[in-house]
Amino acid sequence: MNENTQTANIEVEQNSDIIQITDMHKWYGDFHVLKNITLQVKKQERIVICGPSGSGKSTLIRCINRLEEHQKGKIVVDGIELTNDLKNIEKIRAEVGMVFQHFNLFPHLTILDNLTLGPIWVRKTPRAEAEDTAMYYLEKVRIAEQAKKYPGQLSGGQQQRVAIARSLCMKPNVMLFDEPTSALDPEMVKEVLDVMISLANDGMTMIVVSHEMGFARSVAHRVLFMDYGEIVEGNTPQAFFDNPQHDRTKLFLSQILD
């Protein structure tokens, strides 16, 4: 009886929250990078995390697909708890797409091979099907004509769009963006943000670490502010920008918006 209610509970939770982080802590040696993080992300929710550099925002989202290990607390992604079990980690990584600041495309493979690698080797998709999917997403990020080129032959903005398409080819449930536009030349920021906006319109669950406040305002459901490893406050964009509660948030916003 008890067990039944528990499983029922979990199912309900799965339906609503795709990511659950409870009382999570992380240390680098003695340095306490993440303190008491609790965060629920609902399906199709879009969250933007901002904060000064070194505040732990990148570390937080890197904990979600276990690129970083947390030492205390609990992270549950799509009903699977992140532990040291390699099988679970690989399962979660296949469900969670990630886009990096420096793109991290595989320079020895063509764009098309960059996109088909994951589906073929992790999902065991037949090559022809994987290539069709890849071309579909390359069309979506408007870069299909570059499929046969190598990453080194593309501009930064194009590379980042390829990186987004590469993640999408795995058909992820959640997309994590780690400062996706910070390494780009200014004129290329828009083309990447446009792709992310169209992704948002398709209902993708997204967690974005970014300082693009315009993007946060128009796309996010919730904006979180982090400082010294803590989530200081989180609110709807409107409330967050127009009526910040904490002094640290106010200070940060005044610095970034001027």
Partner: protein
């Protein structure tokens, strides 16, 4: 009209004769300043006193197809030492009537090497083809099946032995070296320290001592009556030795890899072996092509050290020829010939590696 003609003029103006063509080249490269002019003249003088005498010795005053008596009375090179002893130099003590077999085996090997050059042919079928070729080559060398008289491996020698030791030595040392390098990077302390100890131990001793150990010490540990073929023991020593060096070179490549590549592979959900095979090694090995080819080339030449455990490789057979009283004193000719064979092989390796580097270059 005038404008037009002027335009034509400027478009057909050529740089002054002294800055292009042969004269321009000589001026910019050989005589651009007093010091360089002096160096050029000095080098020209050295060439003048060394090249003509060598050419006279090697080509003008030389004899090519005579017997040893004719060589006694000339000033030039006696190249006859090579054709007269060619079969011994190349095949060593392999039975005279059966020498077509190692010859055929070598031809198969060379054809296979050339065939495998093209990266488009690097598929599983090529691996099977090599398997078949290896069996055929082994049968040709060893015999023992109906129609082929058995030949003891103690009679193998010369070029086939050198090629056997080097081609299989290098081909097996490379993967072993990669595994050692990956082991050294491993997070598992036991594997890591095993690899470190192995690499440092092997790099700390000369190849000669390894060869000695394989031929003298190793048999002491075998139970009575059990012997391991001398060539095989030398082969294993060469593989162990070369692998340690390859491992360190490959480790350099692995450390040169951007951390982002590992993270991107992880984020896609690739496991360790997939990450290494598909993402990390293809890039790391490409970076280390130049230093690994250096190691392969030097390992190839080091196979000649097997003379000290009484294997008759190409260099040793040549030496033996020269201890024949009839041909004593013509060592320069014989060694030049052997050096040429080694050079051709090494040149081929370095040339091929350069081509491979170009083909694998995916930047603009």
């Amino acid at each position: 009209m005038e404008d037009n003609s002027q335009q034509q003029d400027t478009s057909t103006v050529k740089p002054p004769v002294t800055s292009v063509g042969a004269i321009g080249w000589v001026r910019t490269n050989l005589f651009n300043g007093p010091f360089n002019s002096l160096l050029t003249l000095g080098v020209l003088y050295l060439l003048w006193i060394s090249v003509p005498p060598f050419v006279r010795w090697a080509f003008v005053d030389s004899v090519w197809m005579t017997d040893y008596m004719a060589c006694r009375n000339i000033d030039g090179a006696c190249w006859s030492v090579i054709p007269a002893n060619l079969r011994f130099i190349i095949f060593g003590f392999y039975p005279h009537d059966l020498q077509w077999r190692p010859l055929l085996a070598m031809i198969i090997l060379v054809v296979m090497l050339f065939y495998s050059q093209d990266r488009k042919r690097w598929k599983k079928s090529l691996l099977y083809l090599w398997g078949v070729a290896l069996v055929i080559m082994g049968l040709l060398m060893k015999g023992g099946v109906p129609g082929l008289t058995p030949v003891e491996s103690s009679q193998w020698g010369g070029l086939p032995l050198t090629l056997l030791l080097s081609v299989f030595g290098l081909a097996s040392a490379y993967p072993v070296g990669i595994i050692l390098a990956l082991g050294r990077q491993s997070k598992m302390p036991v594997i890591k320290s095993l690899c470190v100890v192995y690499i440092e131990l092997i790099r700390g001793v000369p190849l000669i001592s390894l060869l000695f150990m394989s031929s003298v010490v190793f048999p002491l540990f075998l139970p009575e009556g059990v012997t391991v073929n001398a060539i095989l023991r030398a082969q294993v020593a060469i593989i162990m030795f070369t692998a340690a060096y390859i491992a360190e070179v490959v480790r350099g490549g692995l450390q040169g890899m951007n951390k982002g590549q590992y993270e991107a592979a992880d984020a896609l959900g690739l496991n360790y072996f997939q990450t290494m095979r598909l993402i990390i090694l293809p890039q790391a090995l490409k970076i280390v092509i130049p230093p690994s080819v250096s190691i392969l080339i030097s390992a190839f030449k080091d196979t000649s050290l097997v003379v000290i455990i009484a294997l008759y490789d190409l260099l040793k057979t040549t030496q033996s020829t020269l201890s024949d009283p009839k041909w004593m004193g013509f060592s320069a000719e014989a060694y030049i010939f052997v050096a040429l064979i080694y050079f051709v092989c090494c040149f081929f390796m370095s040339n091929y590696s350069r081509r491979l580097e170009q083909e694998l270059n995916t930047d603009l």
